[in-house]
């Protein structure tokens, strides 16, 4: 049966979390069933307080072939990391 059902990606926001995180996927016939399946498969141990599901086919992914062009240029620009600043003693919560 599940081969006939499209795949949905599941995102959960944990009780203490601010953002939804990808946790896996489920097969489902439609959005309502996808939420129920996500609840039944991924929230059995109180993993979260909010669920998102999205059709896997609707996700636009970067092309692995282009990984070099997309991500390599950032490699030698370490100055973008905020590690070159001396932090004053008085600042406690940075």
């Amino acid at each position: 049966m599940s081969e006939d059902w499209p795949l949905y990606e599941v995102f959960i926001r944990s009780r203490s979390g601010l953002e939804h995180k990808h946790v896996g996927s489920v097969h489902a016939a439609d959005a309502r069933m996808a939420i129920e399946h996500a609840r039944d498969v991924y929230t059995r141990r109180q993993e979260g307080v909010s669920l998102w599901v999205v059709r896997s086919a609707d996700i636009i992914a970067s092309d692995p072939e282009e990984a070099d062009a997309l991500f390599e240029p950032a490699r030698d620009k370490v100055y973008r990391h905020p590690t070159f600043y001396a932090i004053p003693e008085e600042v406690k919560n940075l």
Binding site: M1, S2, W5, V26, H27, A28, A29, R32, M33, E36, H37, D40, V41, R44
Partner: protein, 264 residues
């Protein structure tokens, strides 16, 4: 905490016996239905449904544990949840006859589940204001679970009923087959009347129309036909069961019966 603290008016042994029986009936329906759903594990049509049915089963067995423990205290003979679940024979079980019916196909399981979910919704809702505060607290916990159960079962009822020709015909056949057990759901006897008089349980006659309206609403969405009302020949709540319960208990109780007192 003693049971008496929750039900201070029970000096009368007949009233205490009725109270025990009332809680035991709720417990047994959840236990038997939970055990039936557990039989699906590893056999459901999809991995996600396998887990879904197991989740329902665990909710129901959780309800049964709370209710059986309480029933054992009300009875006052030292029987705990395990003694009540594993060391009683079929005639001592007082679940709804509907709950013990075999799983059949997936549609059959869904119809059985949906009829009982709609019943438990009304029962637990009605128990929220019970004079028995412990029973009310158990009902409040169970009600949240039952709302999800009904969402699950009515969702599938509508998908199957309003699905393909075959799924519609199968789920209608399941409904026609199981409907004869529905007359028992709101059929009050002396136990129910005593509980109602003591404000421990709601009046079944007042719950029935609400159950019926919910059933009609779901059936309309599922394009299914409500079968004609049938006479009431079933008495699971009084310990008179169909042949199926004994077979189910033989499997459920096998380990405790073979190795009495064995622990995990």
């Amino acid at each position: 905490m003693s049971a008496r603290a929750h039900a201070p008016s029970e000096r009368d042994p007949a009233q205490q016996a009725a109270h025990f029986r009332h809680v035991l009936r709720l417990a047994d329906t959840s236990l038997v239905l939970g055990q039936r759903l557990g039989e699906w594990v590893g056999h459901a049509p999809a991995l996600e449904e396998d887990l879904g049915l197991a989740n329902l089963a665990l909710d129901l067995i959780g309800q049964a544990r709370l209710l059986l423990t309480y029933a054992g205290e009300l009875e006052g003979r030292g029987r705990d949840e395990d003694a009540l679940a594993f060391l009683r024979d079929a005639p001592e079980f007082v679940n709804l006859t509907l709950a013990e019916q075999p799983n059949g196909d997936f549609g059959h399981t869904i119809v059985r589940q949906w009829l009982i979910d709609a019943w438990q919704l009304e029962i637990y809702q009605g128990l929220l204001g019970s004079a028995d505060s412990r029973l009310g607290a158990i009902a409040a916990k169970a009600l949240k679970e039952t709302r999800y159960h009904h969402r699950f079962s009515s969702g599938w009822l509508i998908r199957l009923g309003d699905g393909t020709r075959e799924s519609h015909d199968r789920v209608q056949a399941a409904l026609d087959c199981l409907w004869r057990f529905s007359a028992e759901l709101f059929c009050a006897d002396e136990v129910d009347e005593r509980m109602q008089a003591a404000a421990i349980a709601p009046a079944l006659a007042e719950l029935a129309p609400r159950w019926s309206a919910r059933i009609d609403e779901d059936l309309a969405a599922a394009t299914l036909t409500r079968p004609a009302a049938q006479p009431y020949p079933w008495h699971g709540r009084r310990g008179v069961h169909t042949e199926h319960l004994g077979h189910m208990l033989a499997e459920m109780q096998h380990l405790q019966r073979t190795y009495p007192g064995v622990r995990w």
